[in-house]
C-alpha cells in the first residue's frame, strides 16, 4: 500500500496551483482532503507524478449565505458542513446528507470540492448537488467558468472539468420546501447501496415542485427529472409516489457488485426513494 514516488507541492495561492498544473499537464493533480485520491495512489491505480496540495490556498474554505444564494468553498470539509448552524438552517439537507458520508475521521478531511470533483459514482454529494440544482465554479488558465451540477458528470471519473481547471466553489439557490437524504449502506463508512436526495415544495395540499437525484445507481449520479415531474400537481399519494419510483427506475442503470445484484439494487432504490419522498413531503 505504498504509492509510486511523486513530487509534492503546497502553493499559497491559485496562481501557484495553476502554474504547476500548466507545467505538468495531466501528470499533475490537485489534492484536497486526499481521502479519495490517496487510497487510489496507494493502490497504484492513480499515477500522480506531481501532487498539488490545496490546503494552504486562500479563499476556498468559506461558507457564504447571502440573500437567496449559498456559496460553499471547495475546501470546506464535510465536517464543516455538519457543524455550520446557519448553513444547516438554510439548507438542512446538506447536513442530513453529510452525516451519512463515511465516518467522522473521513469527514474531518474530506472536502465538498473533492467529493464533487472526484467523479466517483459512489460519492454522495454529486447527486445531492444535482438535487439542489447547484452550480460548480471552475477556474483555469482561461479564467472562470461555471457548470451546472446536472451537466457536470459524463461517466465514472469523467467530468466536464478540464485537467487544468480547479473547482473553487459550489453555489446553489437556498432550497425551499421539505427535504430528505435517504441512504442504504452496509455499514458505517460505506458508500451507498442506493441513496436518494429529495426536495419537495408544497402548495396547499399539492406538490408544487419536486427535485430528485439518486446516488451509486449508474456510472454517474442520476438527476431524475421524470421522477420529480411525476409528483408535481399530485397530493403525493401512493399512486404518485409509485409513478415517481417507476420514472426513477427508468433513469438508473445499476451494476452488480459486492452490495448485490441488479434486481436487488433496483428494488432498494425504489424503497429508498419512496422513503425519501415520504419524509420530504412530511416536512414540506
Amino acid at each position: 500500500m505504498i504509492p509510486a514516488a511523486f513530487e509534492y507541492y503546497r502553493p499559497k495561492d491559485m496562481a501557484g496551483v495553476l502554474s504547476i498544473l500548466e507545467e505538468h499537464g495531466d501528470d499533475a493533480r490537485v489534492m484536497a482532503g486526499g481521502h479519495s485520491l490517496i487510497p487510489m495512489m496507494k493502490l497504484r491505480m492513480a499515477d500522480v507524478g506531481h501532487l498539488i496540495d490545496l490546503q494552504d490556498v486562500e479563499g476556498m474554505s468559506e461558507i457564504d449565505i447571502s440573500g437567496n444564494t449559498i456559496r460553499i468553498g471547495a475546501m470546506v470539509t464535510q465536517h464543516d458542513i455538519i457543524d455550520h448552524h446557519a448553513l444547516s438552517a438554510a439548507a438542512p439537507i446538506l447536513r442530513e446528507a453529510a452525516l451519512q458520508i463515511a465516518d467522522p475521521q473521513v469527514r474531518y478531511m474530506g472536502t465538498v470540492g473533492g467529493n464533487v470533483a472526484n467523479g466517483d459514482p459512489g460519492n454522495d454529494m454529486p447527486g445531492l448537488m444535482q438535487c439542489l440544482d447547484a452550480t460548480f465554479h471552475l477556474t483555469g488558465p482561461d479564467g472562470e467558468h461555471t457548470v451546472a451540477a446536472r451537466d457536470f458528470y459524463e461517466a465514472a471519473y469523467m467530468t466536464a472539468r478540464e485537467d487544468d481547471q480547479v473547482l473553487t466553489a459550489v453555489s446553489m439557490p437556498k432550497p425551499a420546501g421539505g427535504h430528505a437524504y435517504e441512504k442504504q449502506k452496509r455499514k458505517i463508512g460505506d458508500y451507498a447501496t442506493a441513496a436518494a436526495a429529495a426536495l419537495i415544495v408544497k402548495d396547499g395540499f399539492t406538490c408544487a415542485s419536486a427535485s430528485i437525484a439518486m446516488t451509486n445507481l449508474s456510472d454517474t449520479p442520476v438527476y431524475s427529472e421524470a421522477a420529480g415531474a411525476a409528483l408535481v400537481g399530485t397530493s403525493v399519494d401512493d399512486a404518485a409516489v409509485g409513478a415517481a419510483v417507476a420514472a426513477m427506475l427508468g433513469d438508473i442503470d445499476p451494476t452488480e457488485d459486492n452490495r448485490g445484484p441488479i434486481a436487488f439494487k433496483k428494488h432498494v432504490a425504489g424503497v429508498i426513494l419512496r422513503r425519501a419522498i415520504e419524509r420530504a413531503w412530511s416536512r414540506a
Partner: protein
C-alpha cells in the same frame, strides 16, 4: 502491625485474586499508544522485505526477470524459488502435515501467492522494486469450487500424483482423487445409517459455512536478525505459538534450537491467523542470513486478507433423525472442506478436520457418523480456527442449524426440542457418540435461566402477532428469535492424543518469588489481547497469597519462558492456567515447610489462609507469604534449599467443555434486507470465573466477530479466482455503530479435572454467537416456509430470501 488490624475480607480484597474484576494491567500502555508491536521494532541497519504476488489464481510461472528491480535505488536482493531451492527452503511444511510453497516453484495456485521476495533498504524502495520485477505467467484453468475440483482432470499439485498420474497417499491416508487431500471419519457408519433409515422423522439439509478471515487489526509480520558473529538468530514476530515456531524454524533451517530466539512482542489480535508459519518468516530469515542485516516483513491489509490463513469454507450435508416426539436418534454429517492451494490448517496431527466431531453438540445423540473430505482449490491456503477451538464453530453451527431444521420438520418449538434432547446433568462425565468425554455441564439450568430472562414465551407471542400484522399489510418488518445452545471443546490437549507436528500440547508456567515478596511468572502461552498479565496473576495471587499487583506475568520470549504450545483454541486458561495453579501449589508446599520451621511447629500444624500460614487453632501465630519469601532466601533452614521457585508442565487429563445459552431478537426489513438487533442475551458457563470483567470483554469481542461472520463478513472469489473482498470496504469489520448492546449472564459449572475448575471463555461467544445471529435471521422467515439459507446474511441475501418466499408481492 497493619496485618493484625486487617480483616480477613480486606486481606482477600488486597490480593485481587480469582473472582475479582481487577482492571487490566495491559491497558495503561495500550490506551496510551505505548504498546510494542512487531512493526515498532527498529534495529540498526534494518532492511525491509516484501513480496511480488501473483495476480492469477492458477498459472504457470514461465520466467522471472529481476534485472530491472535490482536497478531500483535501495533494492539489495530479489529472492526467488531458484535461490531457495539449494537450501531446500522453497517449500516448507504446514502444521497440517502438508507442505506449502515459500516462493512460486514453477506455478502459482492462488491469487496473491508469493512469487519473489524483494529486499530493500526501506519499504518504499521495496514497493518500487516489486513493481519492477517482471514475471511471465501462462494462465491455467482455475478451480474455485471444491466439487468441481474433485471431478476435474486438472492436477493442481504435481506432488499428489505418481509418474503415471495416479493419486499418491497424502499425510492422512489415501486420496480419492488427485485434488483430494484427506478423508477423516468418526463414529459408526452402518449403525447410524440404519437408525436414520428406520427413523420416524428425518430432517436433511445442506449448508455452506462460507469462507471468512480472522482479520486481526494488526496484520502478520516479523523481524529476523541473524548475528553472524555468534551464530544466533533472533526472530520477533506475530506468533501465537512462539516455541512451536522456534522448533519449526530449527527443523527447516538446520540452525540448532538453542541458537534461535523467538520473541512475540505485543500482538494486536490473532484469532487463529497467527498460529501457522508463513513464507514471510522463511524469506525474512533467509534474507537476514544472506545480507547479514536484520530484515522486517509486515503484511498490509490486502496481503493479510488475501493470503494468510482464512477460516471456514465448509460444505456440510446433514441428516438428523428423531422420534415423532422429538427425541433425536441419529446424526450424519458429511463435510467437503475447501483448503485452497495448500492444507495450512493448524489442527492437532490426529485431527485433520479439527474437533469437528463435537458436532453432536449439547445433545444426547446415541449414534452418529461424521466424514470429512479435504479438497484443494485455487484459493488461498488455510482453514484455521477463527476465534474457536479447531473447527468448533463449524460443528456448532452445523448442529444448531440441524436442530432448527428438525424443529421445522417436527412442527415443534426449537427451544423445547433442545430441552428434551440436552445431555442431563447427571449424565456427566458423558461420552458422546463421536468419542469425546464431556467433563461437566448443567444445560437445563442454563437454558431455563436464559429463556426466563428474555421472556421467551412473550417473544414468541409478539412474533406471532408480527406475522399476523405482516400478512395483514400493517408492517413490512419481521421479527426473528435466534436461539443457540453450544458446547465447546477447548484446552487442547492431552499429549496422548494431541500434538502439532509431533509437539505435545501441554503447557507450562515457571514462577520465581523474589525475597521481598513479589514475583515473576513466565508461561508458554502468549496474549494477543486476552489479558493474560491480568488474569494469570490473579490465579497466582489466590494460590500463593501474594497480591496480583506484585506479580509480573511474562510470555513470548523463548529464551526466558518455559516451553509451551501457545495461545489459540481457548487453551491458555485450561492448560497454562492449570500449570500456573500447579506451580503455585509447589511454591505453597515449600512455603508451608518454611512457615512451620519459622513458627517452630510441625509442617502439618500450619494451614494456608489467604496470604499466610497460620498455626492451626492459633490464628494469632502466623507467617505471611511475604515473611516466608524473605526467609526462603535469607535464612538457613535445615533440610530446605534456599530460594522459592517452581515450574510446572501441565498435561491436561481431558479437554474442558464450556457451554452457553444465547438468544438474539432481531427485526428485519423485508424490503431492504437490513437487520436491527434489538436484544442479545448471552449466558456463558466457563466454569470458575477468574475475572468477570475480562470475561465480559471477551464475550463482547467474540459476539462482535460472530455478528460479523453471520451478517456479512466473507472472503469471496469470482470464477477466475480473484478475491472480491480484499479490503475493509468490502470485508465487513463491524464498528461500534453496527454492534448492539450485549447482555451477559452466567452460570458456574466448574471443570472437575482442572485445578481451579476453569474452562476457557475467549472463543465461546464466537462459537455460540454465529448460529444465534444466523438462527435469528432464519427464524424470522420460518412462518413463511424457510428451512435454511446460507450465511452471510447481508442485505441482498436477506432480500433474496424474502423475494424467493414471495414476500415482495
Amino acid at each position: 502491625m497493619k496485618d493484625e488490624v486487617t480483616s480477613r475480607e480486606e486481606r482477600i480484597e488486597n490480593l485481587k485474586g480469582m473472582g475479582c474484576s481487577r482492571k487490566r494491567v495491559e491497558d495503561a500502555r495500550f490506551t496510551q499508544g505505548k504498546g510494542n508491536y512487531v512493526d515498532d521494532i527498529k534495529l540498526d541497519g534494518m532492511l525491509f522485505g516484501d513480496f511480488v504476488r501473483s495476480p492469477y489464481a492458477h498459472a504457470k510461472v514461465v520466467s522471472i526477470n529481476t534485472e530491472e528491480a535490482m536497478k531500483v535505488p535501495g533494492v539489495l536482493a530479489v529472492l526467488t524459488a531458484a535461490d531457495l531451492a539449494p537450501l531446500g527452503l522453497h517449500w516448507m511444511p504446514t502444521l497440517a502435515g502438508d507442505k506449502q510453497m515459500v516462493l512460486a516453484d514453477g506455478k502459482v495456485l492462488f491469487q496473491g501467492q508469493e512469487v519473489a521476495f524483494v529486499v530493500a533498504e526501506d519499504r518504499y524502495a521495496a514497493a518500487d522494486g516489486i513493481e519492477a520485477v517482471e514475471v511471465e505467467y501462462e494462465e491455467l484453468e482455475v478451480l474455485v469450487d471444491p466439487f468441481k475440483s474433485m471431478g476435474s482432470d486438472v492436477v493442481l499439485r504435481e506432488d499428489t500424483v505418481d509418474d503415471a498420474g495416479k493419486p499418491v497417499d497424502g499425510a492422512h491416508g489415501p486420496r480419492k482423487h488427485h485434488n483430494h487431500i484427506f478423508t477423516w471419519e468418526a463414529g459408526d457408519k452402518d449403525p447410524t445409517f440404519e437408525v436414520i433409515d428406520a427413523a420416524e422423522v428425518v430432517a436433511e439439509e445442506t449448508m455452506y459455512y462460507h469462507r471468512t478471515h480472522p482479520c486481526p487489526l494488526e496484520t502478520c509480520g516479523c523481524v529476523a536478525s541473524m548475528d553472524k558473529v555468534n551464530g544466533k538468530l533472533t526472530l520477533w514476530g506475530t506468533f501465537q505459538a512462539p516455541h512451536a515456531i522456534r522448533t519449526v524454524v530449527s527443523l527447516i533451517s538446520g540452525i540448532e534450537e538453542h541458537n534461535i530466539r523467538v520473541i512475540s512482542p505485543d500482538i494486536g489480535g490473532g484469532f487463529g491467523n497467527k498460529v501457522g508459519a508463513y513464507p514471510g518468516y522463511v524469506c525474512s530469515v533467509v534474507a537476514s542470513i544472506v545480507t547479514g542485516k536484520p530484515v522486517k516483513w509486515i503484511e498490509d491489509r490486502m496481503d493479510n486478507l488475501m493470503t494468510t490463513a482464512f477460516a471456514r469454507d465448509y460444505w456440510m450435508k446433514g441428516r438428523i433423525s428423531a422420534t415423532k416426539e422429538g427425541k433425536i436418534t441419529g446424526l450424519h454429517c458429511h463435510v467437503t472442506a475447501d483448503h485452497g492451494g495448500f492444507d495450512a490448517c493448524a489442527d492437532p496431527t490426529k485431527f485433520p478436520a479439527g474437533f469437528m466431531n463435537i458436532c453432536t453438540g449439547s445433545y444426547d445423540i446415541p449414534t452418529a457418523f461424521l466424514e470429512v473430505d479435504g479438497v484443494y482449490t485455487n484459493k488461498a491456503p488455510g482453514g484455521v480456527s477463527y476465534r474457536c477451538s479447531f473447527r468448533v464453530t463449524e460443528a456448532v453451527y452445523f448442529i444448531e442449524r440441524m436442530i432448527e431444521v428438525l424443529a421445522i420438520e417436527l412442527s415443534m418449538d426449537a427451544a423445547e426440542l433442545r430441552r428434551i434432547n440436552f445431555i442431563k446433568k447427571e449424565q456427566f462425565p458423558y461420552t458422546a457418540a463421536l468419542g469425546w468425554e464431556y467433563d461437566s455441564g448443567d444445560y437445563h439450568t442454563a437454558w431455563d435461566k436464559a429463556l426466563k430472562t428474555v421472556d421467551y414465551a412473550g417473544l414468541r407471542a409478539e412474533q406471532a402477532q408480527r406475522v399476523e400484522d405482516f400478512k395483514a399489510g400493517k408492517t413490512r418488518s419481521l421479527m426473528g428469535v435466534g436461539l443457540s445452545f453450544f458446547t465447546e471443546i477447548v484446552g487442547a490437549g492431552p499429549v496422548k492424543n494431541c500434538d502439532i507436528l509431533g509437539l505435545g500440547m501441554f503447557d507450562s508456567c515457571e514462577i520465581r518469588i523474589h525475597p521481598t515478596g513479589s514475583a515473576i511468572a513466565r508461561l508458554g502461552t502468549i496474549s494477543q489481547g486476552q489479558g493474560h498479565a491480568t488474569t494469570f496473576a490473579q490465579i497466582l495471587a489466590s494460590e500463593i497469597g501474594l497480591p496480583a499487583d506484585s506479580i509480573t506475568i511474562e510470555e513470548g520470549d523463548t529464551d526466558t519462558a518455559p516451553y509451551g504450545l501457545g495461545t489459540y483454541g481457548s487453551r491458555s486458561t485450561p492448560v497454562a492456567g492449570a500449570a500456573t495453579a500447579m506451580a503455585g501449589r509447589k511454591i505453597r508446599a515449600k512455603a508451608q515447610m518454611i512457615a512451620a520451621y519459622l513458627l517452630e511447629v510441625h509442617d502439618d500444624d500450619v494451614e494456608f489462609d489467604v496470604d499466610r500460614f497460620v498455626v492451626k487453632g492459633a490464628p494469632e501465630r502466623f507467617k505471611t507469604m511475604k515473611d516466608i519469601a524473605f526467609a526462603a532466601y535469607n535464612q538457613a533452614i535445615p533440610g530446605i534449599e534456599p530460594g522459592l521457585e517452581a515450574v510446572s508442565y501441565y498435561d491436561p487429563p481431558n479437554m474442558t467443555y464450556p457451554f452457553g445459552a444465547y438468544v438474539c431478537v432481531m427485526d428485519i426489513d423485508v424490503d431492504t434486507g437490513t437487520t436491527d438487533i434489538r436484544r442479545f442475551y448471552a449466558l456463558d458457563d466457563c466454569g470458575t470465573r477468574i475475572n468477570p470483567m475480562v470475561i465480559e470483554g471477551q464475550v463482547h469481542g467474540g459476539l462482535t466477530e460472530a455478528l460479523a461472520v453471520a451478517l456479512g463478513q466473507e472472503i469471496a472469489y469470482d470464477d477466475m479466482g480473484n478475491v472480491k473482498t480484499g479490503t475493509l470496504m468490502d470485508f465487513f469489520l463491524p464498528t461500534a455503530w453496527e454492534v448492539p448492546n450485549y447482555e451477559t449472564d452466567h452460570t458456574v459449572t466448574p471443570s472437575p479435572h482442572h485445578p481451579i475448575g476453569a474452562k476457557g471463555v475467549g472463543e465461546s461467544p464466537h462459537v455460540g454467537g454465529v448460529p444465534c445471529f444466523s438462527n435469528a435471521v432464519q427464524d424470522a422467515f420460518r412462518a413463511f416456509g424457510l428451512r435454511h439459507t446460507n450465511m452471510p446474511h447481508d442485505h441482498w441475501r436477506i432480500w433474496k430470501t424474502a423475494n424467493e418466499l414471495g414476500l415482495h408481492g
